[in-house]
């Protein structure tokens, strides 16, 4: 477990910054809920002039927007985007930094198997995501309680909040796969940012073109706040898609990494 703990130590500062950034963003958004919901007619008027494409891109769902769930769901689009970058960053860097920092020879000459390295590193990445989400959910609950001035279903709210976790797991696993397959990654952000945005753009186009088949391709479309609100659950077909992707990618990561030549 030593690699696991060491990785957590390496990332504690980054984790703290991300948690603070996500929580602050959330609080800032939530704090304007009161003023928006009290002037809902004005807001409706303004939004009706927005181009439909824009509303789709920002995942704006008017049906429930004026409720705390809907408003939170709307904020989540932006949180997902940021969280995806965080997760992808962790996934890519946790393996590739050993090569860029030339520490791979150090690590691989120790009495550890490749699969143990991979398992402990993945566990570390996943823990970082879990910690992020615990902090985020607690902030969300406290924030909503404070700013909404009305009762809300905690279960639905937590289910909405947990979508961040699923989106992050997707990108963590994807980053991990990139870290094993790509031979040398000079800067992690140059891989993470474009990838996340490509998935975001695919999601937007899927929405604009009204092509639900596209939705399978991108986790940004797996979790529709309206669906979660109405069904008190996630859409199973997308959960399967996510699960399938995670399992496939992880298996592929192990196969590649165990056989990989680590170059200087």
């Amino acid at each position: 477990m030593n690699i696991f703990w060491q990785e957590l130590r390496f990332y504690r500062k980054s984790l703290l910054i991300w948690v603070l950034a996500l929580s602050t963003t959330l609080i800032v958004f939530l704090s304007s809920y009161q003023s928006i919901s009290s002037q809902i007619d004005v807001f409706r008027e303004v939004v009706s002039h927005y181009p439909k494409a824009l509303l789709l891109v920002i995942n704006f769902r008017f049906e429930i927007f004026y409720t705390i769930y809907g408003y939170f769901g709307y904020i989540l689009t932006f949180i997902w985007l940021a969280g995806a970058i965080q997760a992808m960053n962790y996934g890519v860097s946790i393996l590739s930094k050993e090569v860029t920092d030339k520490t791979a020879d150090f690590l691989l000459s120790k009495p550890v198997s490749r699969s143990r390295i991979l398992t402990e590193k993945f566990a570390a990445g996943l823990s970082l995501i879990v910690i992020t989400n615990i902090c985020f959910t607690v902030t969300a609950l406290l924030g909503a309680k404070y700013f909404s001035h009305s009762n809300f279903g905690i279960k639905t709210f937590i289910m909405l909040s947990a979508t961040l976790f699923f989106v992050q797991v997707f990108f963590l696993v994807l980053g991990f796969l990139f870290g094993t397959i790509l031979p040398k990654i000079k800067t992690v952000l140059s891989v993470a940012l474009p990838t996340v945005f490509i998935f975001f753009i695919v999601a937007s186009f899927g929405g604009i073109l009204d092509k639900p088949d596209f939705y399978y391709l991108t986790p940004f479309k797996y979790f529709d706040p309206v669906y979660i609100y109405q069904n008190s659950g996630y859409d199973p077909k997308y959960l399967f898609a996510l699960g399938g992707f995670v399992v496939t990618s992880l298996v592929l990561s192990y196969i590649v990494y165990i056989r990989k030549d680590i170059k200087l």
Binding site: K102, T103, A104, P111
Partner: protein, 295 residues
């Protein structure tokens, strides 16, 4: 028993040659020098037997166990100093060394004690961040990292770069101590001198192939030396005329330049007849060894 044994070991990176059909045996308890110019395949050999890269063909075993099957088990007893210095960002030397120790099964307090002793010996400040250490000091961290668990096999890949002569001497003593304790050593270098000082046998690698394995004593006896003489006035060319072992003889004014391979007694006897102003005898560099010794 051979501590390291490779059989027709080959490693290609795509079409690029790393090593080709390399056979090597390192005996238990010896210090084996592994010498060759940069790019000859020394690091590739080492990284292959450590399973950092996988062989294209052939096999390698350490302690009699196949390296691809028993990697982790074998590496428990290996100490490795990579040629490239490494550092984890924002880590103190002591943190890195404790992290390194955490991989081994040996008693923790024993390894901690080793870390402190070795750091004292090599004059390394353990509380400094590795980022802030000089090249030579980082190398010291690498050395301690490779020795703290008292391995049975020590693999050193160009270990002396960046070390000042004093520390280098301490390092050599350390390696000899470890060797006396029973550790076998694979010492890779492109400097013949340091290999000569330390090793029992030496393997010469050229373009990915082991071209010669020789005892140091034999090598020294047969080794080529470069002579540079300056005489007072014009030298008598007859003096060096019929001595076997001289090559590349060049007269340049009062300077005489040549390579000599053979018994030193023969050549010193001859040049004693010259009226010398200056005499310079050097180890030839590796290129010269390759050119003249293995023609």
């Amino acid at each position: 028993m051979n501590v390291i044994e490779t059989s027709k070991l080959s490693k290609f990176y795509g079409k690029e040659r790393g090593i080709e059909n390399l056979d090597m045996q390192v005996n238990e308890g010896e210090i084996f020098g592994f010498i060759g110019p940069n790019g000859a395949g020394k690091s590739t050999t080492i990284r292959t037997i450590l399973s950092i890269v996988h062989p294209t063909s052939g096999s390698a075993s350490i302690f009699g166990k196949d390296v691809t099957k028993y990697g982790p088990e074998i590496r428990e007893e290996i100490g490795y100093l990579p040629s490239e210095i490494f550092y984890y960002e924002n880590m103190k030397a002591i943190d890195l060394l404790r992290y390194s120790a955490s991989f081994y099964k040996k008693p923790k307090n024993h390894m901690e004690h080793r870390i402190q002793t070795l750091a004292k010996l090599l004059e390394l400040n353990l509380d400094k961040k590795i980022d802030d250490l000089s090249f030579g000091n980082r190398k010291k961290v690498g050395i301690i990292q490779g020795l703290l668990h008292e391995p049975k096999l020590i693999i050193l890949d160009e270990p002396t770069g960046g070390l000042d002569p004093l520390i280098q001497q301490k390092f050599f003593n350390l390696i000899q101590q470890e060797n006396k304790r029973g550790a076998s050593v694979l010492f890779s270098s492109h400097i013949l001198g340091e290999v000569q000082r330390l090793c029992d046998r030496v393997g010469i690698i050229k373009e990915g192939k082991m071209i010669k394995v020789e005892k140091i004593s034999d090598l020294l006896e047969k080794s080529t030396k470069r002579f540079k003489l300056t005489t007072k006035g014009k030298a008598d060319k007859a003096v060096l005329l019929n001595i076997t072992g001289i090559s590349e003889l060049v007269y340049n004014g009062n300077d005489i330049n040549f390579l000599f391979r053979g018994h030193l007694r023969d050549i010193t006897k001859a040049i004693a007849k010259l009226d010398l102003v200056n005499l310079d005898v050097n180890e030839p560099d590796l290129e010269e060894i390759f050119l003249h010794y293995y023609r």
